[in-house]
């Protein structure tokens, strides 16, 4: 009879585990991805290879801030296939106003494209991001540069924040100003907490000293006035250290919460 109880408990645990696994599996299947179509870059004054490099840079920028668990940046092949193949895609409009129509055709949730135009010695860059369902523009990046490589630099640096960072659910890019700031806040918080703990520990040590001084005072091991002064001095120092440590510790926790 005694053996039955552990068997029942084990069976229940096993069943609960199996249920959890089944739930997890069901949840995985229920994930609905947000799709982003990065359309092939357009413009004039550049060779095909350069447009492709720019498109790749755009995709890299998207992948920097869009978590792969819930977002899917459609591959170039997938975008072209959804738009009816290379030939059909080229037949469709390439004007800026057509980005939305292409996004709609590709059945993507968000659509973006980088356009570059060479005007004399200056290259103009324009990136637009639209929410296909609402047909609203939610991100834009403009800039100019003298060299094509500089255009890629602008996209690499700014597109994760000014374009893809505008998509709800996007993360802050690692290494960005925001990312660096978060890192600094984290370590500042840790530093304040450590300092607070150390000061409070010092306060505790003073408390011990105060008790010893108080014991000596009671046992009359030292002269009356000096023994009591030591107790008072230790008590004051202890209180100051406790307060200072508490403030530092609370500040550290505050930094973690607010930043």
């Amino acid at each position: 009879m005694k053996k039955i109880f552990p068997i029942i408990v084990f069976s229940c645990a096993l069943a609960a585990f199996a249920q959890d696994e089944a739930d997890d599996s069901a949840q995985e299947q229920d994930v609905v991805f947000t799709s982003i179509a990065v359309l092939p870059s357009e413009g004039y004054g550049f060779v095909q290879e350069e447009y492709e490099k720019l498109t790749d840079k755009m995709r890299e920028a998207a992948l920097k801030v869009l978590p792969r668990e819930t977002f899917l940046v459609l591959t170039q092949d997938a975008v072209i296939k959804r738009l009816g193949g290379e030939e059909n895609y080229k037949k469709q409009c390439t004007a800026s106003s057509c980005i939305l129509a292409l996004g709609d055709s590709a059945k993507a949730d968000f659509v973006t494209r980088a356009d570059i135009v060479r005007r004399g010695k200056v290259i103009d860059l324009r990136v637009e991001l639209y929410n296909v369902k609402t047909q609203g523009q939610i991100g834009i990046l403009t800039g100019d540069a003298k060299k094509f490589e500089d255009v890629l630099g602008i996209v690499e640096k700014k597109a994760p924040i000014d374009v893809f960072g505008k998509i709800p659910g996007a993360q802050k890019p690692a290494g960005s100003v925001a990312g660096e700031s978060a890192k600094i806040s984290f370590w500042t918080g840790i530093g304040l907490e450590a300092l607070g703990a150390a000061v409070m520990f010092a306060g505790y040590m003073k408390h011990q000293e105060m008790q010893n001084a108080h014991d000596r005072y009671k046992e009359k091991e030292s002269d009356f006035g000096d023994a009591w002064d030591k107790v008072e001095s230790n008590r004051k120092t202890r209180d100051i250290l406790y307060i200072a440590g508490g403030v530092l510790l609370a500040s550290g926790i505050g930094v973690h919460i607010w930043f």
């Binding site: 609905v32 991805f33 947000t34 059945k107 949730d109 369902k133």
Partner: protein, 186 residues
């Protein structure tokens, strides 16, 4: 007088009842009269995996199917759910006659309603037919089955032959002539 009333009743309502028993056929729009249906794709319930026209063609060849039914529906459409029950009840006959059925939700947001729709389809169609989504009515627009700015009348049932050429279009709930009409002359 009583006989007269009965006669009038029968004269008015019998044709309606007898008419309601058959499926309502609609003329094919111009977009579907030019051989194989226009290229298209629909999405799975995860919002990204696609089913292309060529995938259906491949399935037709693989299973030697004779007919393909694209059943367009939407969340909250009662007739659509009744239609699922008809499809479910005729599943064995559809398989026997080589009919591939695809349920395509039209116009609903996968993210907001996908789960609910999947569950409703599972309940009413028994999970016997593959479910896909056309979230922006794009497919219906491209097929000429809906116009921009106005919601289509659902359910719509598009019947294709094994070459994926449209051979019939039914509007509203299927009638008693379903599924026989799939292999009879439409």
């Amino acid at each position: 007088m009583h006989i007269m009333r009965t006669a009038i009743f029968l004269a008015v309502f019998l044709p309606i009842f007898s008419f309601a028993e058959n499926s309502t056929r609609k003329a094919l729009p111009g977009e579907l009269r030019q051989g194989i249906v226009p290229n298209f794709f629909v999405l799975e319930k995860n919002g990204v995996n696609e089913l292309f026209r060529d995938d259906i063609k491949e399935a037709v060849n693989k299973r030697k199917a004779k007919r393909v039914v694209l059943s367009f529906f939407a969340e909250g459409c009662l007739f659509c759910m009744e239609e699922f029950a008809i499809l479910k009840d005729n599943k064995a006959e559809l398989d026997k006659q080589g009919v591939l059925v695809y349920l395509i939700d039209a116009g609903d947001d996968i993210r907001k309603k996908g789960k609910k729709i999947s569950e409703a389809v599972k309940t009413h169609a028994g999970g016997l037919f593959p479910l896909y989504f056309d979230p922006n009515f794009k497919l219906l627009f491209d097929f000429g089955l809906a116009k921009r700015g106005s919601d289509p009348n659902l359910p719509l049932t598009l019947i294709l032959d094994s070459d994926l050429q449209a051979i019939g279009l039914l509007e509203g709930k299927m009638g008693d002539d379903f599924p026989q009409l799939l292999w009879s002359e439409l």
